[in-house]
């Protein structure tokens, strides 16, 4: 049974009082007006209609849905963490010390020289990074117009390059699923501002030629940008900085287990090599003899957030890293890669590309990947990302992360196989055991009803 909208339960129309003259105020306001017990029941019921990492496996490829340790929530709930961004630096040495610590840890993990914590999400990190590249080239009097991106890259890469005003040059994949060196060499030019790459790539393959790739881009005067979405595959095994990347972002809501909150908030800190450090957005935190200070650079790009980013997320990320330490981080990657490889071994679906690391793109073959996914819902698991990347037909991009046990992976494999083994009709009509049955997407898009007000018009 579905839950009524709050407004369908109890709504009132209220007029402003007399604090302001009428010409400055609205006539009235109509909004839900429940009492607290009603609020509690409404949202408790809604929560019960929602899958989460505590519900079971959440193997969305490229999303790194890990367990989010409650201890990081407790740490972030410290009342002393609740300060205003305009406080004097002297009066918030704790906050600044924490930020400095996180900057340092991230730099170490990525092999980078300087880090900005300002970007509030991965895409914002990309934008920051590409804006840094733009500023660098401009400072060199170098007016470059293109960003190279492999066709298998995350959609945000393309959109970010466009947002920053660059033309996108899409690189096809080689037959082995990796960067096509010939295509790269053909595409690189003096117009190349940067190449955006994730490594391992979106089907989990490590770009073995990364050193050659870096040489090609660098020789042309371009910069190498690392999309951190897949960093969970490499912790303690390889660092973007060592591979020749000049700029990278970190998805702390992936690699460092901050909760994804149904879509956000995340945080997308950006690390760069020394040469690019002056271009990071202002301010950054530095430790001096007299404590932590906020320092500004004249060459900094404009800001990417109205203040200093998603503070509460950053606290949790730092706590997670500190909880795990070297051995924990390295083990997390080891188990994430083991889990992906073990799961791929257990399922009936083919995996065209390999050797893969923390994720793999299986193909549903003759079946529609989206329907297989819907059918998996009936077996009590969350399906993988479907139909992406496009290099794999009917792709099911699967990333179990390190938190699943062998038993959990076996159950997940059974759900894969059962869904694939279902009849086409069963798959097409799935799911049937869920809160909502298959939802009509076409009507939703053709006749958009985006508010309760639009429902009233029915």
């Amino acid at each position: 049974e579905n839950e009524p909208l709050l407004t369908e339960k109890r709504s009132d129309t209220v007029e402003p009082g007399d604090a302001l003259p009428d010409d400055l105020t609205r006539d009235d306001l109509t909004l839900p007006n429940p009492e607290e017990p009603e609020v509690a029941r409404h949202y408790t019921r809604l929560s019960q209609m929602n899958w989460s990492i505590e519900s079971g496996p959440y193997p969305l490829g490229s999303c790194t849905m890990k367990y989010n340790p409650p201890v990081t929530e407790d740490v972030a709930a410290d009342p002393n963490a609740a300060v205003h961004p305009d406080r004097s630096a002297d009066s918030i040495q704790g906050t600044l010390g924490l930020l400095a610590g996180l900057q340092d840890y991230l730099a170490r993990i990525g092999g980078m020289d300087a880090v900005s914590l300002q970007p509030p999400a991965g895409a914002a990190g990309e934008f920051t990074g590409i804006a840094v590249a733009r500023a660098y080239h401009r400072a060199n009097g170098d007016d470059r117009s293109e960003v190279l991106i492999p066709s298998s890259a995350h959609g945000t890469n393309f959109a970010t390059a466009a947002l920053a005003g660059y033309d996108v040059v899409e690189l096809p994949s080689a037959e082995d699923g990796r960067v096509d060196m010939e295509a790269l060499e053909a595409a690189v030019s003096e117009d190349t501002a940067a190449l955006m790459l994730t490594n391992p790539n979106t089907v989990g393959l490590f770009e073995r030629d990364i050193e050659a790739v870096a040489d090609v881009v660098h020789d042309a005067g371009g910069l190498l940008y690392y999309d951190g979405a897949n960093l969970n595959a490499l912790l303690g095994r390889a660092r973007p900085g060592d591979m020749g990347f000049d700029i990278m972002h970190y998805n702390v809501h992936k690699t460092f287990a901050t909760p994804h909150g149904g879509g956000g908030p995340g945080a997308g800190p950006v690390g760069v090599v020394d040469e690019l450090a002056p271009y990071l957005p202002n301010p950054r935190v530095e430790e001096t003899d007299s404590g932590y200070e906020l320092v500004e650079s004249d060459e900094a790009i404009e800001n990417v957030h109205g203040f200093q980013g998603n503070w509460l997320v950053l606290v949790k990320a730092y706590a997670y890293i500190a909880r795990l330490g070297d051995a924990g981080l390295r083990d997390a990657s080891a188990k994430a890669v083991l889990n992906a490889n073990y799961l791929a071994e257990q399922i009936d679906l083919d995996v065209p590309y390999g050797p893969f690391h923390h994720e793999f793109a299986a193909t549903a073959g003759d079946a529609a990947a989206a329907d297989v996914a819907k059918r998996m819902l009936d077996f009590g698991v969350h399906p993988p990302t479907t139909n992406w990347p496009e290099m794999v037909p009917e792709a099911m991009l699967t990333e179990p992360t390190e938190i699943e046990s062998k038993q959990s992976l076996d159950d997940l494999a059974a759900a894969f196989d059962a869904a694939l083994g279902s009849s086409e009709e069963e798959r097409h009509e799935a799911p049937s055991r869920t809160t909502a049955k298959r939802i009509d997407q076409t009507t939703a898009a053709r006749d958009p009803r985006l508010s309760w007000q639009s429902l009233d018009e029915e």
């Binding site: 959109a159 009507t443 898009a445």
Partner: protein
């Protein structure tokens, strides 16, 4: 075995549940001897070193972070200027922290994420009611990035040739910086129009707006806490020139202020984190609402109502073809991860207050500021409010003594206020700090003379 118990440091990830036996069985199934064999990393770029990050037990972690954050001075903040605190009821924490909400991903499988989708649908609906506009997305990062996106929306939907984005000269610096960044790639220019007494100089806007104007932005309340009295006129000027009129506000202010649609706003942006977020060092929640005609050009996620196979009302992410994961470089924005959970909290906070609670809270923001300004104005050496306007939450204080010195002295007394000029302070009061208003006044009396 790598099983690290919570009271210990642990030798591996405390969140990877593998026993040694299971690991061995899995390695065997995969056909390798150890996990290292699964990493296909060329030797030259392999990292064998260590980060030198010591693992902490939960206890150590909590103690360390608690001690570190205790380095923050315990000041009562009378700070605003874009980041505001209202008291968030306990029930918002207890409900929003439910793992079904907190540890959920974006709703790409709507059949098992109806709960979050409905909550976001209700959030969107609240913004529709508050703004009078037909469409609201389910969040941007913050007010500044929402403003940036609004300017880019103007570039997509306006047929005028103009490339000028007009903003008030008092726009907060950080917000303007973000705007500059967003419009750079689209080759737009940000220009300022003058303000007078804390609000827009309408005549100057009239002069400034021309055929090169793409976008006119006004705020209410402004960054000086002034309620903008001439919104309809500004909207009219923008409309006449074909520019897009964007209004900046927030859901608490809009609970009593003029409905944006009624003053001609095409887009409303602002900081919706005034609901649901405590002071969070500037973390925010970008509000974004607009007219229905811009539907296919809206940035960010939209939740729509539909039906499931049983004919039951159901919700789903919709119009995703606008988004980066489908449209790539032709997407309406590069945003992916947004602030969904903060939007959920904002909706919960609004529900906890209810319609009447929201209106009461907004009224308090007017009267608390008025009363505090009046009390400060009574103190020799202070003038408040400097601006002859109605205020919301905050106002500017003129000082005889150097403002920075007064602020330093106030900090000694346990209070934080803004210094915005040599002889200008700014003070913000809400339900969250009103209990300390009398103490602040007393402290001002000590230090201002």
């Amino acid at each position: 075995m790598s099983h690290g118990s919570p009271h210990q440091g642990g030798n591996g990830s405390p969140y990877a549940p593998h026993t040694d036996a299971e690991t061995a069985a899995m390695l065997d199934a995969v056909g390798v001897d150890d996990e290292a064999a699964l990493f296909d990393i060329p030797e030259p770029v392999a990292f064998d070193g260590e980060f030198s990050i010591e693992p902490r037990s939960e206890q150590e972690l909590r103690r360390e972070f608690s001690n570190l954050l205790a380095e923050n001075d315990d000041l009562t903040e009378f700070l605003g200027r874009g980041h505001y605190e209202h008291y968030v009821p306990s029930v918002v924490d207890s409900l929003s922290q439910r793992s079904e909400f907190l540890t959920s991903y974006t709703q790409y499988q709507p059949e098992i994420t109806q709960g979050f989708l409905q909550a976001l649908f209700e959030y969107q609906s609240m913004l529709v009611e508050l703004t009078g506009l037909e469409i609201a997305n389910c969040s941007m990062y913050d007010a500044a990035t929402a403003l940036g996106e609004a300017a880019l929306l103007a570039e997509r939907v306006r047929s005028v040739d103009g490339d000028v984005v007009l903003v008030p000269d008092i726009l907060r610096e950080g917000k303007r910086s973000v705007l500059e960044n967003y419009v750079d790639g689209a080759d737009l220019r940000v220009e300022s129009y003058p303000t007078e007494g804390g609000t827009a100089d309408v005549d100057a806007i009239d002069d400034a707006v021309g055929e090169d104007t793409l976008f006119v932005y006004a705020e209410t309340p402004t960054v000086r806490g002034c309620i903008e009295p001439n919104l309809a006129e500004i909207g009219g000027i923008a409309d006449e020139s074909g520019a897009l009129f964007c209004l900046g506000s927030d859901p608490v202010a809009l609970s009593i202020l003029e409905e944006p649609a009624s003053v001609g706003a095409d887009v409303v942006v602002g900081e919706a984190g005034v609901l649901g977020l405590p002071a969070a060092y500037g973390m925010g929640l970008g509000m974004f609402a607009c007219k229905e005609e811009f539907l296919r050009q809206v940035p960010g996620r939209l939740v729509g109502a539909s039906e499931d196979a049983d004919g039951t009302r159901a919700y789903t992410l919709t119009l995703q073809t606008r988004e980066q994961h489908i449209r790539k470089q032709r997407a309406t924005s590069n945003i992916c991860t947004n602030q969904a959970w903060v939007a959920l909290r904002a909706a919960m906070h609004a529900a906890s207050l209810g319609a009447d609670g929201l209106v009461d809270l907004a009224e308090d923001c007017v009267t608390l500021a008025r009363d505090l300004a009046s009390d400060l104005d009574d103190i020799t050496g202070l003038r408040a409010p400097v601006d002859d306007r109605h205020h919301f939450r905050e106002f500017v204080v003129g000082t005889d003594q150097p403002a920075a010195a007064i602020a330093d002295d106030l900090e000694e007394e346990g209070f934080a206020v803004h210094v915005i000029g040599d002889h200008r302070l700014q003070v913000c009061i809400t339900d969250a700090n009103a209990h300390a208003a009398d103490d602040l006044v007393a402290a001002f009396e000590e230090v201002a003379a």
